[in-house]
Each structure stands twice: as C-alpha cells, then as structure tokens.
C-alpha cells in the first residue's frame, strides 16, 4: 500500500466514523418517533428522511452546498464561527452523514418496532419518565438493531461519492476519499492505482456489511 493510498484509506475511515457518530443520535431519535409516535406530519418526516436514498446523491450534494455554502442559511453562521464546511473535511463528514442517515433510521426503526410496547408501559407504571423508559428499556432492547444500522450507515459513508464531490470536492490530502480517488485515478488513466483503491474499498465495505448482517441476524 502506497503512502498516498494509506492516507486516503485512513481519511475515509476516519470521516466515515465521524459521519456515523454525527448521524446516529438524530437517526435514533427519528427512528423512535417513527416507530412509536402518532402525530400529524409523520408521513412527511418518513418521506423526507428517506429522500437521500432515492434522490441522486449529486442533487443532495447540491442542496447541501446551498445550505452550508458561505452564504447559505447555515453555512454563513458556521463560517463566522470559523467553521468552513465547503471543500473541507467537514463537508465530507456532512455528506457521508446525510447519505447514511436513512439506512440507520430504517434499521433502527425496525428494531424499535420489534420491542414489545408492554415493557415500556410497565416501566412507566413503575414511575419511569419517558426519557428513562427510552434509555433503560427501549434502547437496550433495540440495541443490536441500532448498532447494525450504524454499521450499515458507516458502510454507506465509506462509499459515498456524489454528495461528497459536490460539497467537499476531491482535493488530494484534504478531502479525497476512496470513492473520489477511484474516480480521479480512472479519469487520469492510472488504472492500476484505481484498482488498488477499489480493492481496499470493497474489503472495507465487505467487512462492514458482514458485521451489520451478523448483528441484525442476532437481533432477530
């Protein structure tokens, strides 16, 4: 493995881990609300959360670019706090998190739905407030499914391309990931390097999906 490939692989794994950490807490909250909540707008929330699965990733990236660009509604205030998103590692993490979120939500939601509501009800009659019920009953009983979802989201983040290249570009040593590296190498005729990066990507994704399946299988 060349130093360059090693750097790209390490950067990709690190940003994918950060993206997973960023996506999992809101994904758990959304999954729980979708599994247990009955409220107006639930179908809309469900649709919006699933959008990144079906909208072209490049379009999602473009939307992120508008929102998090230096003049965007969120990007402006982040930039004034010294946190640039566009064309930085933060953009990579953000793109990966948004693209991985629906997978975490879907898997975690199924896990929450499989938790017998009776346990949550009895916990409440024992004096537990909703937050305690969630952390002591719902989340532990759904834990394997939630972790399986997180691993799946991580795997998705490893391979993220379209949204990443829109918001973070493909800057060697700064925002280049395994997926964008394959694209660059192929475009510039460096086929053997592209193949090596592809092999590393496949190996990492294979391991992540295998772990996810194993956890999801054990949860059933």
């Amino acid at each position: 493995m060349t130093p360059e490939l090693l750097q790209v692989a390490a950067f990709t794994v690190a940003t994918a881990l950060a993206a997973t950490a960023l996506a999992v807490p809101p994904a758990i909250a959304i999954a729980w609300v979708l599994a247990r909540g009955r409220f107006p707008g639930r179908a809309l929330l469900e649709t919006v959360v699933s959008l990144p699965l079906v909208v072209p990733p490049v379009a999602t990236g473009l939307l992120l670019l508008y929102v998090f660009g230096r003049r965007g509604p969120l990007g402006a205030s982040l930039a004034s706090a010294g946190l640039d998103v566009v064309f930085t590692w933060r953009g990579v993490v953000l793109a990966m998190a948004v693209m991985g979120l629906p997978l975490v939500v879907r898997t975690a939601r199924t896990a929450f739905e499989q938790v017998d509501a009776r346990y949550e009800q009895v916990a409440a009659t024992l004096g537990a407030r909703p937050l305690r019920v969630f952390f002591s009953i719902s989340l532990p009983l759904a834990a394997r499914g939630v972790v399986a979802g997180a691993v799946l989201g991580f795997a998705r983040a490893l391979g993220e391309f379209g949204a990443t290249i829109m918001i973070a570009g493909n800057i060697p040593g700064r925002t280049r990931t395994l997926a964008t590296a394959i694209y660059s190498y192929t475009e510039t005729g460096r086929d053997s390097q592209a193949a090596a990066v592809a092999a590393v990507s496949i190996g990492l994704a294979f391991a992540a999906v295998a772990i996810s399946n194993r956890l999801a299988g054990a949860a059933r």
Partner: protein, 227 residues
C-alpha cells in the same frame, strides 16, 4: 376507595363503567371481551377514556371535567399485565429495583413503603435475585413481577389474570402471597380473574363486567357465575 366513571370507545367496543368500590381486594370478573383488561389499562393510564373520572381515594388520576390526565409514571398505580413483562435484558435484582427509585425518593405514600428485604421475604424470592429472568418458572415470574410492582410503592395494585399462566397446584400456592400483600402491606388490589376459587379466597368485592358494562358491583356475598 376506588372511584370509577369511565367511558372509553375503542372501535366498535364501548366500555361504560360507573362504580364506587370500597374494598381491599376487588375481583374483576366477566366473559372474555367484557372489557376487564381495557378497564385496568385505563386505570393505569395506558389508555385514555373519552370522558369520566378515575380516583384512588382523593388522588384524582383522570377527570375529563377537570382536565386531569396524569401520566402513568405519576399515578402510583402498580400494574402486572397478564404476561408479567419482566424486562428480559435485566436480572431479577434490576427488575425489582426498577421502580424502587420512586419508593426511595418519597413520592410514594408513606405508609406503604415496604423495603426490598421485606418484600423478598414475604414472597419467598430471596434466592432468585441474581438470576436472569428467562431462567424463572411461571410461578417465580409471577412473584418477581408482583414484588417489582410493590417496590414502586403503589397506592393501588392492578393484576391482570395473575394466575392464568400457572397451573392449578401452583395457583393454590401463590394465592397466599396475594393475601399477604392485601393484609400485611395494605395495598388495595384489583385483579382480573376467571377462577372462582381464586376470587373466593382473595376478593372482598366483585365487579362483574359484560359487554363493557357493569352488571354488578358489590361486596362478595352472592354466588359467582362461572365463565
């Protein structure tokens, strides 16, 4: 004193119960589908009536007229469902202590705050405390669930067919434990039952439901119908 005035519509089923009960142990009887479990769930706060009043003594749990609808965690009503619902990811000890925080912080009513040791001894479950809940027999599960509910210092205990899942010899052995709860701890209990012997050994008041309505609510004196 338990005051029940509940109207709860659930699809085609209408629960319409109005009765006042002054007893230590109430048996809730009636054919399947009469609304017994629904009534327990309404008292526990797990189902919301369309209108009415539910009060334990002067503690109003629900009153549509006054806009009161206490959350289950504020009702101080212990509930043991038919399947007992012991938390499968916790050992017996953690299950038992789950509701004991309320007991400790004094929000439970003063006179009914038995400690862990007393409950364990009374229900003879000391030896089970380090076990996983999946290793327990039917009778052990019932007693652990009962202990867990009692340790949360309830003002009222609801038992949904507490003995349905255990065989007849074991029922005869568990009933004395329920009598001890009734007599030694003084926690009023409402139990759904199909077993006349159980009702006779435990209850001093009978509420009979049929089709969502009370067909009798009185001190247990008259013979009981069989279902």
């Amino acid at each position: 004193m338990l005051m029940l005035d509940v109207r709860l519509v659930q699809g085609a089923f209408i629960l319409n119960v109005e009765t006042g009960i002054d007893a230590r142990a109430v048996a809730l009887v009636g054919p399947s589908g009469a609304g017994k479990t629904t009534l327990l769930e309404a008292i526990a706060g797990l189902r919301r009536p369309q209108r009415g009043t539910i009060a334990v003594g002067d503690h109003v749990l629900f009153s549509s007229a006054r806009g009161v609808d206490l959350a289950p965690y504020l009702r101080r009503v212990g509930y043991v469902p038919q399947d007992v619902a012991l938390f499968p990811h916790m050992k017996v000890r953690a299950n038992l202590l789950y509701g004991a925080a309320r007991n400790r912080d004094g929000r439970g009513s003063g006179a009914k705050r038995p400690g862990l040791d007393r409950i364990l001894a009374m229900l003879e479950i000391e030896s089970l405390i380090e076990r996983g809940v999946t290793d327990l027999s039917g009778g052990e599960r019932q007693r652990v669930a009962l202990a867990r509910a009692l340790l949360s210092a309830p003002d009222l205990l609801l038992l949904d067919e507490p003995l349905a899942a255990v065989d007849v010899p074991l029922r005869r052995r568990i009933i004395p434990y329920l009598r001890r709860v009734r007599d030694e701890l003084g926690v009023p209990l409402v139990h759904v039952s199909h077993d006349l012997a159980e009702v006779e050994m435990l209850a001093d008041w009978v509420v009979e439901l049929d089709g969502g309505r009370v067909v009798r609510s009185e001190k247990r004196e008259r013979p009981l119908p069989s279902y």
